[in-house]
Symmetry: C2
Subunit: 140 residues, 2 copies
């Protein structure tokens, strides 16, 4: 897409600190990073979210994530890492081109996980049904 910054990076029209590239996937350092070495892995083709991308491309992207994540861990010496992939604005997606974050984590980096909530008695079954019924509908 003409006005997509990640498409511009893929086409070489915008700069990036590239760490990996193959026929379908490109990976580069995130600016700004959550921690140093924070890397993004994207398909070269433009898809907005994980719901839009064809299965074969999604597999290629996640295998790129696996490969690059091992190098991020080894290269940065981090103790662990989070894979994060945000879908739609409500979930904090800023660039509307599917991307996986690889975020290196170090002890005491101060990141806090999101708060938990809880289900009232019997409520979990209601939520289970909402999802299984949607799965059934989507098969039709």
């Amino acid at each position: 897409m003409d006005d997509c910054i990640f498409c511009k990076i893929v086409r070489g029209e915008a700069p990036c600190a590239k760490v990996y590239e193959d026929s379908d996937v490109i990976a580069f350092l995130s600016i700004p990073p959550n921690n140093k070495g924070h890397t993004l892995v994207i398909p070269k083709e433009h898809y907005e979210t994980i719901l839009d991308v064809p299965e074969e491309i999604l597999c290629r992207v996640v295998l790129g994530v696996q490969k690059v994540a091992g190098a991020v861990k080894q290269g940065t010496g981090c103790g662990g890492f989070n894979i994060v992939q945000n879908n739609f604005r409500t979930a904090g997606q800023i660039v509307s081109h599917l991307h996986f974050h690889i975020i290196p984590r170090v002890e005491d980096d101060g990141f806090r996980f999101w708060p938990s909530t809880k289900y009232d008695e019997g409520e979990i079954e209601e939520w289970r049904l909402k999802i299984t019924e949607a799965l059934e509908q989507r098969k039709l």
Copy 2:
């Protein structure tokens, strides 16, 4: 593994609110949830992190994530969702059995993203080299 809670769920020895199952993958509601409808997708076989899982199984799992995520969005009516996958204790991995979180998000749910940092002048190239050199080493 005998003492892994997710392996027990796979074997039917521990209860879960299951939403999806195929030959390689199972998905169930997270307890506790970050938001209601928070779902976990796991391989039936035990692997600790994304670095350990064979490529074919990883593809099967991420295709399960894609399928279930569409149903989570439709079924819960959320505005967006985050896919999160934590590797190693330093990154907040609690159960040592590879799992992808699908976290439905709603407007004003109060979740805050992690703080950003920044690279000093020229520093991004140092971090790029750490990762690309690790990629080269891992090919050998």
